[in-house]
Symmetry: C2
């Protein structure tokens, strides 16, 4: 394999694209902005999806499925919502093709024009709240805690695999509640689920916060977010949870009879994470040799490689090792391919981010040992066969923890407090990362700062302490610091 | 609940719609032909999907994800394929909406017309084989065994929940092979996987066979099918597996270098099952009281109901029972809702098809027993608490087996051998079901029979014995009987 990917220092953006390609995660398709998620990438996404799904179910949610298409008129019913999505949506106008009368393949049949155009869902609040109108009649029908796994389309102009694509896979939770407080509690609860998933499974530290009005989801009263920091010092919005107030209930006339027999509009939340998380995972841990996967999300955690090639003795030991590892719940693969040399395999599994590699050679077996290499630090050790399964179990825990610690250390080193605009620009240019600074609370200032520096307010962190200060741009008084960064 | 659904005898079609609605499986959405799959229905589909996914992976397949959209020109590349799908597809022509200059909400922005229209995938052979061109260079890249779970859209005029909808969920396997024989073996292997799933999990007996040329998938050399029989005597095509020959490899120029260094076109298969299976499941087992679910696919297999309502003693016993059942791997729910009476709950779980109901009442507890009711036969028995978990384990196996036996008995009673056209019409009209009859092998005769009777050739069964006979319509010689039926 050799040096197939660009160094991060050289060109971070190209490094990312190289990893996505060389680790067989995804590739661009023939359709502009739409990617193909390749088997190795999809296997990682499946692990993320399955774990998230488990956590959603443990918090009382059930899955359902709503239509891909949204009637155009539905989008218009919530004023801010349509403003947010109308400019980037795929519109279905016809339902039939016909043979070109001039013999040039097939063309759209003009007689098959739809009465009302359909929008490929960019998000499903409208079609779902239109459905909830029939499902919610009384307080007994609440709360309604539903999630769906789906594909959505937003016609983005500049795309990047996983991070921003026209079509992406995601889950969208849509819940309905009898009271404002309960809906806000749900919004916060799901933010916590996302935060827990990011740290425990992705080993990706995040900062929880609330968005400024300017950065809110179109139609939300409040948008909560988890913000991660990539290795190039840019932030990634990794998941959002929205308190929608009664906006969609009012737009779609969803009312319920309270215990006191009064008609009231329902309170709503929605929350989602997407294949964008894959981008976050890649950019948090990977290095100049390729992908680095946390053990909890790796399609397989251990690969066994015979050195130089499989034979009866090595096969027997490898099978014993596989069995004992599988008993411990470890996912392991034995690569018996005789056509590839060990060195080639080493580089390939390194590129693919497999957390642990076990090399089994004839000489080692004479000493009753194998060679164990960990992907995160690239350390190699000889480990006795006796007790190997416990060693590997601990090693996987250690790798998972080390990845989180490493990412946390990087992130913590890249949170800078800044008190004037010159320092703000300097830190942005020279160091990058998150900046905690005072802001006067106006959208005008927020936009001005973005124009001048490309930095945006990522969030007002939830664990913020009140602190009197002066806005870095306008010098006006401020009660707390907010989190700035350049972002993906 | 009372008598909420139409009797099967009265109006089978309405009975089906009633079950779909009253068992909370699905409902029509605001988008013509697209359904909402409700949580209870989706939970059954998830179980089907997870089991199938496991079986695909056990047979060496991996998952990936390909774009929702297909460039119009791709569809045209395989002549029969475009013929088969062009007339029923959703066409995306624009990528933006704008505010109506006349103030009437939003309208399609005429400046945002796509250069080439995009088709919402009705199936993905074309976009996938266009991708495979870059993935397959040498015999070392083969076989390629990929599956995807996806939504697809076919613009059907007459729809019915699950059975035929404009959008549906499915999986589509797309494999690539070095030889014709290997591709045919794969086609047959996946047919066997479908057959095993249908019988073992859905308890739905099927007949395996091959389609006539007239009923083949658009672009296939051979289409294999599993055909089930519904309770109204109509057949349901439940899954298909296609041997595609080199058609798509040729259309998309996918060639590989053989071991002997020759360039050859790749051999292909594709195979799929969809949410249509839900329709098959419902129509195979359910009765006039509602849905009947086989234990292996039920979202939960046992529901415990306190009689008349929960109290400390009943709660303690219920929790013990739940724990002991869960240890056996049984999915169980305890319904503690105090707002609903036992009779109401009984009817509700019956409607929802939950295989086993355990009633726990004060008097029964004095005798150290509970009441166990099975959904399939509606038998009730008192069972001692001691050893209850073993009783339930066996009971679930028995229900699963009984459902299959019952469906098999019905199906076998409804396979009729017929030797002339009058009998053919008579059996179709009076008895329904499958008819084994001689056919002269021509598409002309097949179409004529369909015009005259609405019956189609479901398949040429794989276990057919050669038998000389005369075509029921034309009297021409025939070498084997084929399987006719009216079908969904």
């Amino acid at each position: 394999m050799g040096k197939e990917i660009t160094n991060r220092d050289e060109n971070y953006s190209q490094w990312y694209l190289d990893i996505v390609k060389k680790a067989n995660l995804a590739e661009n398709s023939a359709v502009r902005g739409c990617m193909v998620i390749k088997p190795h990438g999809f296997a990682v996404w499946e692990n993320m999806r399955d774990q998230l799904d488990k956590m959603f179910k443990e918090t009382g949610h059930v899955n359902a499925y709503f239509p891909l298409f949204i009637p155009k008129s539905f989008l218009s019913k919530e004023a801010e919502h349509v403003e947010g999505f109308a400019k980037e949506c795929a519109v279905v106008t016809h339902h039939r093709l016909m043979n070109d009368p001039h013999g040039q393949g097939v063309v759209v049949d003009p007689d098959a024009k739809l009465e009302e155009e359909l929008i490929v869902r960019p998000t499903s609040e409208t079609i779902i709240w239109n459905t909830y109108r029939d499902w919610i009649k009384s307080y007994r029908d609440l709360p309604l805690l539903i999630n769906q796994w789906a594909n959505v389309v937003r016609w983005e102009l500049r795309t990047r695999p996983f991070i921003r694509t026209a079509e992406f896979l995601w889950q969208e939770g849509h819940t309905a509640h009898a009271t404002r407080d309960e809906a806000i509690a749900e919004t916060r609860k799901m933010l916590d689920v996302y935060a827990q998933f990011a740290e425990e499974y992705m080993a990706m530290p995040i900062i929880k916060g609330v968005k400024t009005p300017n950065e809110r989801f179109a139609g939300a009263e409040d948008t909560y977010t988890i913000e991660a920091l990539m290795q190039d010092g840019k932030a990634l919005q990794a998941g959002t949870s929205h308190f929608l107030g009664q906006n969609f209930a009012k737009a779609f006339d969803v009312q319920f009879l309270t215990e006191n027999n009064k008609l009231e509009h329902v309170w709503a939340t929605s929350w989602g994470v997407s294949t964008r998380l894959m981008g976050g995972l890649i950019m948090t841990h990977s290095d100049d040799q390729g992908l680095v996967l946390p053990p909890k999300l790796a399609p397989y955690q251990v690969v066994i490689i015979p050195i130089p090639k499989p034979n009866d003795e090595i096969n027997t030991v490898a099978n014993d090792v596989m069995m004992s590892l599988r008993k411990k719940g470890i996912k392991v693969r034995y690569d018996q391919d005789k056509k590839k040399r060990p060195g080639f395999k080493f580089a390939e599994y390194e590129m693919h981010g497999i957390p642990v590699r076990i090399g089994i050679g004839k000489r080692d077996l004479e000493k009753n040992q194998v060679e164990v290499a960990r992907r995160d630090t690239k350390e190699k050790t000889f480990v006795p066969l006796d007790g190997l399964e416990d060693y590997i179990t601990n090693l996987l825990d250690d790798i998972q923890q080390n990845l989180l610690n490493r990412a946390k250390a990087y992130r913590d080193e890249h949170i800078t407090k800044v008190d004037n605009f010159d320092d703000f620009k300097k830190v942005l240019d020279e160091k990058g990362g998150f900046i905690l600074a005072h802001w006067d609370g106006t959208t005008e200032t927020e936009i001005k700062i973005k124009e001048l520096t490309k930095a945006t307010i990522r969030c007002i962190p939830l664990d913020n302490k009140p602190e009197d200060g002066l806005c870095i741009l306008t010098g006006k008084p401020s009660k707390q610091r907010v989190l700035f960064a350049k972002a993906y």
